[in-house]
């Protein structure tokens, strides 16, 4: 249990640190930390100016590891992301110069502005956690986390992530507008100087790697796994959805739930973890059908209503005895 206490103290330090700059969004911060511990990648999608970049930078800054920020633009090349081999005249050898992706935390700003070719270079790194340039494979050091931001409003000159690419992200969060009081506090704290400058790292990469190991020890019981599959398969059957969740979504859901349980110092996953994470983990992978679009129902709403219809795993069979 003590390892979980360590985990709790470290993560709360991180959360508190982030909340110094992102006021009034504890849920979003929590999800971000969850994804970090679950070795996933986070997609932050929202309108401009609500603190997407701020969040990703704050998270990156809180970890005393290497942090790189890649501003995605239409002319960004894949080699800018992965790195490039250049000829060193002194040594008369090709030398690998690592790209932006070689870091513990990579902040991909406005990922939808880059060309599909560059996007897919990043996404391949995300999935494989390694980079291959000129036949040489370079491992990316754990922890490795990509925090990408995306602007859903701006359409001109953007290349929105295709469904298959979105599937690589463990979770998507939306910042949403801050509450008036939080916004007021923000005006006070941000007007003087950039608060990010004062942010001190509270955990180092090795510590995070240890926390990730702790998360691995969280027990997922058979019924909970079944419940996860029930949830994802329900999205595939739902008539309101054109595309359901992939098996990778099931995997991500359980991994995120493990991290979520560990954050609550629990060494086992409960269905409540899955319920909490279902929307952030699943919604961005789903494509709503025409009817749902006409009815104004978002993927989030559909997932929420599906959750209500799926019975939680219990030791009794008939529905009326369910407790």
């Amino acid at each position: 249990m003590s390892s979980f206490d360590t985990l709790a103290s470290v993560t709360s330090r991180i959360s508190i640190n982030i909340e110094k700059v992102i006021e009034g969004k504890p849920d979003v911060v929590r999800t971000a930390v969850t994804v970090l511990l679950a070795e996933g990648h986070l997609l932050i999608e929202d309108v401009p100016g609500v603190g997407k970049t701020m969040l990703s930078k704050a998270l990156a800054r809180s970890i005393d590891g290497t942090v790189k920020r890649i501003q995605f633009t239409p002319d960004l090349l894949p080699s800018d992301v992965t790195g490039v081999s250049i000829y060193n005249r002194d040594t008369r050898q090709f030398e690998f110069r690592p790209g932006g992706v070689f870091a513990n935390v990579v902040v991909g700003d406005e990922i939808n502005r880059a060309s599909p070719k560059t996007q897919s270079a990043l996404l391949e790194c995300m999935e494989e956690r390694q980079v291959t340039v000129d036949g040489t494979t370079y491992e990316l050091q754990p922890p490795f986390m990509v925090i990408a931001t995306q602007n859903p409003i701006e359409m001109e000159g953007t290349y929105p992530l295709p469904e298959a690419q979105r599937d690589r992200f463990m979770a998507r969060v939306s910042m949403g507008y801050p509450l008036p009081r939080a916004e007021l506090a923000m005006l006070d704290s941000h007007s003087a100087a950039n608060p990010l400058d004062d942010l001190e790292p509270v955990a180092d990469a090795a510590e995070i790697a240890k926390l990730i190991d702790i998360v691995h020890s969280v027990h997922v019981s058979e019924p909970v796994k079944q419940y996860a599959i029930d949830i994802t398969s329900a999205t595939r059957r739902s008539p309101e959805l054109r595309l359901g969740a992939s098996p990778r979504a099931s995997l991500h859901l359980v991994r995120a739930a493990r991290a979520h349980a560990a954050l609550e110092t629990r060494d086992y996953v409960i269905p409540d973890d899955l319920q909490t994470l279902a929307v952030p983990v699943l919604a961005h992978r789903l494509i709503t059908g025409l009817e749902a679009q006409m009815g104004g129902r978002s993927a989030e709403q559909i997932v929420t209503s599906l959750l209500r219809s799926i019975p939680v795993p219990e030791p009794v069979s008939s529905s009326d005895r369910a407790g």
Partner: protein, 775 residues
């Protein structure tokens, strides 16, 4: 309601075992125990039918309907006659069945247990077992409310419990109880294993395919073994009310207990019970100048399959006894009656509620207080008011002892048609063997009188017939064949069979219940009639002589009537609880003994320990049954709670059981516990019911954690005690509930009530979607 048919069939089979086991409770009440196997096969067929129909996904209520129809058809095939196409009942079948049921009712009401076997009784028992079997099947396998199967089983069990004065012996209780417990265990185990949290004891850490419920099962077995053995053993040490506690003031009935309060309500039954008394009691004292004749109480003249019955009496036809009584039917005017007198006194043991007054045949005057009427048809005296016999004082009877002669009987004329119609009628379903027997015995007889003497001789031949008070069969014509084969019995079989054989020969006959010639007491010379003198004999009608007494019963020391002697007198009278013959026929003066003081009502307290032989009065029984039924849900609910909170030993099972108990408790209070929720969500919902009770909230939190860990964690142990936490939470919920809710939860726990509508809907749903549905 998605469950495998294998499980449901297993439950159905256990339900069948429970029904058959419980039907063993009838074993001590019926002499012929073949019903047990019929019952087992009939219910077995019904259960198989149920399993088959459920395989076809038939709705539960339709299954019940089909089973009931099948039960009815099986009974029709087994007991009905005159069927259309061999299977369809006709009007005649229905009438026949009704007669069989009536006769079964008669047997059930007339006989002390064990009742003689009869088609009617067997059918009634089979109907009961069949209906209970269908209900058990419905509750157990149809709607899966297994605890409810206890209700029909209990109902069936109460029948022999009320019929047997000493209760049902252990072998009538054990099989049913064990099978019921097995059924409950199987069901609970089944429900727990539906969901697969898989902790195996043998291989810790490895997950197997079925939930390990062995700990639960072992505990369940232990608890049930203790409960059942306590139920069997405990009553031995606990003083119980005697059944007389339940008696109404006139509540008397069939019984063969140690000290039955005699009654003549049902003459034949009380006859048997009075003869079986271990110690005879004095009933009547008779002062007479000659040896008193047989005293008659009541006449039975309607033969039935199981018993002879008295003709319904119309009090309007009676003649006040203070009047001069008419000459008995058929006694010719040539006979000049003598005028003898006897004074009869009743002792305290004489039934205070007797509807009949013992008088000799051919009574002319009875000097007694009003309240008694003479029945000219039967030559008996009956009470015309309810309380006539209470405080019965001595009464003097003037009577004639004139006896018919053999010549007179041999020369008897044609029997009048009305007497023949009334007293020589032979029911259609009398076994033909009886007439054949009668003809064989009386072959060579020239007159009815000769035939009657031959019949009497046939029975009196004590080499052939043995006097046996323990003969188990009845005296209706259904058991006569058996009696003629076994050749054992006592006066009621002898009298009834001789009377019936006489009827098959065309001689009008009837049975009289009364008293043998009394003994003479040594000390004061009075004649004393004891309970051993109670007797039954046939009377045959001969025109001119009227009703003539015959004495077919051997071994009671009764002398043969002078008008029907026998070629060879038996040399010695066999042993038996019989009065010895009065030694002297001396004509000493009536010694006028002190008559026993009469204390009305004393008999009720004096009957050596209360009438254990009497059946409890019906009102009490109904009340008791209603109370028992009303309390049954509460008792059942308590039993379930105890089993849940004290039974399981494993931490996981204990937490699950406590959680289930909390759920049922909340449902009992009619508070919401619906839908599918995680333990935490449920905790939040229940928190609202606790009205901020801190202790309850803490216990609820611990209980939730226990359940959560038991379901989802790698190791379920939390060190908490889920049972005591559940008790705390339930107390807290109860406290927050209203008083009415609490009372209702106690008496009508709704968690027991099957939600039939829901079961019905889910059945319909499962029928509609034959494709696999979302789990």
């Amino acid at each position: 309601m998605k469950e495998s048919l294998g499980e449901s069939s297993k439950i159905a089979f256990l339900g069948w075992l429970a029904t058959v086991g419980t039907s063993a409770c009838f074993l001590p009440t019926i002499t012929n125990q073949s019903y047990f196997f019929y019952g087992a096969s009939v219910t077995g067929l019904l259960v198989l039918l149920g399993i088959g129909l459920r395989l076809l996904r038939t709705p539960a209520l339709l299954v019940v309907a089909a089973q009931l129809v099948t039960l009815a058809e099986m009974l029709i095939l087994g007991f009905g006659e005159k069927l259309e196409l061999g299977v369809l009942p006709t009007k005649a079948t229905v009438t026949g069945l009704r007669d069989i049921v009536d006769s079964g009712m008669t047997v059930a009401s007339e006989y002390a247990a064990p009742a003689p076997a009869s088609a009617g009784l067997t059918m009634l028992v089979l109907v009961a077992i069949g209906v209970v079997g269908v209900l058990v099947d419905f509750f157990a396998a149809g709607v899966r409310r297994v605890p409810l199967t206890g209700l029909p089983l209990l109902t069936m069990y109460t029948v022999p419990v009320t019929a047997l004065p000493d209760g049902v012996p252990f072998y009538g209780f054990l099989p049913g109880a064990v099978a019921y417990v097995a059924l409950l265990l199987a069901d609970e185990r089944d429900r727990l294993s539906h969901w697969g949290r898989l902790v195996s004891r043998s291989t810790p850490g490895r997950e197997s395919t079925a939930m390990d419920t062995s700990g639960l099962l072992a505990t369940g077995r232990r608890v049930s073994v203790i409960a059942i053995s306590t139920a069997v053993v405990l009553p031995i040490f606990i003083p119980a009310f005697s059944s007389s506690f339940l008696d109404g003031d006139r509540g008397t009935g069939p019984g063969t207990g140690d000290g039955p309060q005699l009654s003549f309500d049902d003459p034949m039954v009380s006859l048997a019970s009075s003869l079986r008394r271990p110690e005879p009691v004095d009933l009547l004292t008779v002062s007479s100048d000659v040896v008193p004749d047989y005293l008659r109480l009541v006449v039975l003249d309607e033969p039935g399959p199981n018993a002879w019955r008295a003709n319904p009496l119309d009090l309007g036809d009676t003649i006040p006894v203070s009047n001069a009584l008419p000459r008995p039917t058929g006694v010719s005017d040539d006979v000049e009656p003598e005028q003898r007198q006897m004074t009869i006194g009743a002792t305290a043991e004489f039934p205070q509620n007797s509807s009949w007054l013992p008088v000799p045949f051919f009574s002319q005057y009875v000097a007694i207080d009003s309240g008694w009427g003479y029945v000219p048809r039967d030559q008996t005296v009956t009470a015309t008011t309810e309380t006539s016999a209470a405080g019965l004082s001595d009464y003097k009877v003037t009577y004639s002892q004139s006896m018919p002669t053999r010549e007179q009987l041999a020369a008897a004329g044609e029997v009048p048609a009305d007497v023949r119609d009334e007293f020589a009628a032979v029911p259609a379903d009398v076994p033909p063997g009886i007439e054949r027997y009668a003809r064989a015995v009386t072959s060579g007889a020239e007159t009815p009188y000769d035939a009657a003497v031959l019949l009497q001789d046939f029975f009196r031949d004590s080499e052939e017939f043995t006097y046996d008070l323990d003969a188990a069969y009845g005296y209706g014509y259904e058991s006569m064949t058996e009696f003629l084969q076994e050749r054992r019995g006592f006066c009621q079989q002898f009298a009834a069979t001789m009377a019936m054989m006489a009827r098959t020969l065309g001689i009008p006959s009837r049975i009289v219940v009364g008293f043998l010639e009394p003994e003479r007491r040594d000390d004061d010379g009075a004649y004393v009639i004891t309970s051993d003198n109670v007797h039954a004999w046939p009377e045959l009608y001969f025109e001119g002589a009227g009703w003539v007494r015959f004495e077919p019963t051997p071994g009671v020391g009764a002398t043969l009537p002078s008008w029907a002697p026998r070629a060879v007198e038996p040399t010695a009278s066999p042993t038996g609880p019989t009065p010895s013959l009065p030694t002297g026929r001396d004509l000493t003066e009536d010694p006028r003994t002190d008559r026993p003081t009469e204390t009305p009502g004393a008999g009720a307290t004096d009957g050596s320990g209360g009438g254990t032989g009497s059946a409890p009065s019906k009102g009490w029984l109904v009340l008791l049954a209603v109370v028992a039924l009303a309390l049954a849900p509460m008792a059942l609910r308590r039993g379930i709670r105890r089993a849940r909170l004290s039974g399981p030993i494993g931490a996981a099972e204990a937490a699950e059981s406590a959680w289930l108990e909390l759920r049922d408790h909340i449902r009992d209070l009619r508070l919401p516990w619906t839908g599918s929720m995680t333990p935490r969500a449920r905790e939040r919902a229940v928190t609202g019911l606790l009205m901020g009770d801190g202790e309850g909230l803490a216990a609820l939190n611990r209980l939730t954690l226990s359940v959560e860990r038991s379901r989802y964690a790698a190791s379920p142990s939390t060190g908490a005690d889920p049972a005591s936490d559940a008790v705390t939470v339930m107390a807290s919920v109860s406290q927050a509930a209203e008083r009415g809710q609490r009372v209702r939860a106690l008496l009508l726990p709704s968690s027991l009530v099957p939600d039939l509508r829901r079961a019905w809907e889910s059945l319909l749903q499962s029928r509609r979607s034959s494709a696999p549905t979302p789990e």
